[in-house]
């Protein structure tokens, strides 16, 4: 199946000279939930802004469902909904009016039944006649989601949907995103939180200083994340790993002082007990034992180092 979004060689230098994107290539699969992860200023919002038509790219092309976002902007944009990072809504308009406005703006005929369903799903129906300024922050965010969904987009961008949102609303948001995916909507969200990406996403992309440094299936990534290492400080240095232990995931440091064992922390049987017993059988004695976990942070740092 062709990708729903395909980004090629995208760069962006702002008028201030700030380079926000340095050649991003990315394909988003139809119907997936894609999490874009990265620190402040990495270029997440800029990337989304370009795809949605708010920011002019410096170079590169973007196709949304096969339509070029510049040449064929009508077809491209009518497929995309955006919930921006900043909370910005019309203060004096009512909830219902602003959602209707969004639908019209995106070129769709009025559909009161759809809007009612949307507002009910987002538990805004009771507030439909209230001016937006009277709503709480979390409700305002939901209004923005309703606006983004009013024209039934196939692609939804959520720029930090859970920033500054309480636990309950966060759960609601996740449920909503899943429901959207069930309905065939492709969701691209940005976040600072690895747990959020882990909870939600099918695939994860990591962006750092305007470069996409990693795109990976979540499961693959989580397997890497789930690995732990056990290092043993030996009493007597070893010259090599005994033949009987060669097939184990063991590594010997150059000075022969440290033996490192890699295991899956999520597995039922980590194999540690077995290893220790066999080490004992071979007369390998250790004075200290430490375990460490590879976090996204580690992967991230390694990636950045590898590029430097």
């Amino acid at each position: 199946m062709s990708p729903i979004i395909s980004i090629r060689g995208l760069t962006k230098a702002y008028a201030s000279g700030q380079v926000a994107l340095r050649g991003v290539d990315l394909e988003i699969r139809r119907g997936e939930i894609f999490a874009l992860l990265g620190p402040n200023g990495a270029g997440k919002t800029t990337l989304i802004g370009i795809v949605c038509g708010i920011v002019n790219p410096s170079s590169g092309t973007v196709l949304a469902d096969g339509h070029d976002i510049v040449r064929d902007y009508r077809a491209a944009r009518s497929r995309i909904g955006l919930v921006p990072q900043e909370l910005c809504v019309e203060a004096f308009e009512t909830v219902q009016d602003t959602v209707r406005f969004s639908r019209g703006l995106f070129g769709k005929p009025a559909n009161p039944a759809l809007i009612e369903r949307l507002l009910r799903d987002l538990t805004l129906w009771d507030k439909r006649a209230s001016p937006i300024k009277d709503l709480s922050g979390g409700m305002k965010r939901r209004v923005m989601i309703a606006k983004a969904l009013a024209h039934e987009p196939q692609i939804l961008f959520l720029d930090e949907p859970t920033a500054g949102v309480d636990v309950e609303l966060r759960q609601d948001m996740w449920a909503l995103v899943r429901a959207l995916r069930e309905g065939g909507v492709t969701v691209i969200l940005t976040t600072h939180y690895i747990e959020e990406a882990e909870e939600m996403a099918d695939r994860i992309g990591v962006i750092h200083r305007g470069e996409l440094i990693l795109v990976e299936d979540k499961d693959t990534l989580m397997r890497q994340l789930g690995t732990k290492q056990l290092s043993l400080q030996l009493r007597q240095p070893l010259e090599h790993i005994p033949a009987a232990l060669r097939d184990d995931p063991l590594e010997l440091s150059a000075d022969g002082q440290t033996l490192t064992f890699t295991f899956d922390a999520r597995a039922q049987d980590t194999g540690i007990a077995e290893l220790l017993r066999r080490l004992h059988d071979h007369g390998i004695d250790f004075r200290e034992l430490r375990s460490s976990e590879s976090s996204l942070e580690d992967i991230f740092v390694n990636l950045v180092r590898a590029r430097a």
């Binding site: 949605c52 019309e90 703006l105 070129g107 606006k147």
Partner: protein
């Protein structure tokens, strides 16, 4: 053409007017009424006729133009400036609309308000002075043309402005002086010859006189010249807007 979008923008803007009905319609009507009381009734009774028109009636076209200009500019500039300021412009920029549709929505709504306002002032004037409109269709045409041109002008100001001061400065420093010196309250033939010549460089003179001709059949400047000048101003505004949109000036980063 994304007609649904044009309608959505137009309705949104008109709803804003109704939410602020007092400010949008009542206040210009009240302030114009005050002009009629002061200039028409109090001072006008001591003034002679100008070109055979009683002073109270003579100032009507100029007063309408005064409000029309101010309201068109402030409505349209505010309409596009506010979304930029609050950030809600993201939606407009991400929507499948072209600039022409955005323009029709915003300028159409601003011009509609101005025309309604102009007609309301005309009705209000009835309570203070007696007047006739010799060429009602021409009058209506000038009313609409001016409302559209200056709404367009206001739209440009709204896009150009990146703070509230800039939003106010052109209406305050340029448009208001030009309207007061544009012959709203006098005939430029009453001025010394030098100032008559200077006045001919003031575009508002042509607006007021064209409009006045539609009321009384007489004016300081030939009505055809007035028409050409107005169309020229409209063309200029369209050219500027076209350039703004082509370059994404101050809308997109």
């Amino acid at each position: 053409m994304n007609l649904y979008a044009i309608r959505a923008i137009y309705r949104f803007e008109m709803a804003r007017t109704f939410r602020t009905l007092l400010q949008s319609i009542a206040s210009p009507v009240i302030s114009t009424s005050l002009y009629f009381v002061v200039f028409g009734a109090a001072i006008g009774s001591r003034m002679g006729q100008i070109d055979g028109v009683p002073y109270g009636a003579f100032i009507i076209p100029g007063l309408i133009m005064l409000s029309l200009l101010n309201e068109s500019i402030s409505n349209a500039s505010f309409a596009i400036y506010m979304p930029k300021w609050t950030g809600t412009i993201y939606e407009l920029l991400s929507a499948p609309v072209n600039y022409c549709e955005i323009l029709i929505g915003y300028v159409g709504a601003a011009a509609t308000k101005s025309v309604v306002l102009g007609l309301l002032i005309l009705l209000t004037a009835r309570f203070f002075v007696d007047y006739r409109v010799e060429h009602p269709l021409v009058m209506l045409f000038f009313l609409v043309l001016t409302a559209v041109s200056f709404s367009l002008f206001g739209f440009i100001i709204g896009i150009w402005a990146d703070n509230f001061e800039k939003l106010q400065i052109i209406p305050l420093m340029i448009v208001t002086p030009l309207t007061f010196l544009g012959g709203s309250f006098y005939s430029i033939s009453m001025l010394p010859p030098v100032w008559q010549t200077v006045s001919l460089f003031n575009p508002v003179v042509y607006l007021v006189n064209g409009f006045r001709w539609s009321f009384f059949g007489t004016a300081d400047v030939d009505v055809r010249v007035c028409l050409v000048m107005m169309l020229g101003f409209l063309a200029l505004c369209i050219a500027v807007v076209w350039w703004v949109f082509r370059t994404g000036y101050r809308l997109k980063t």
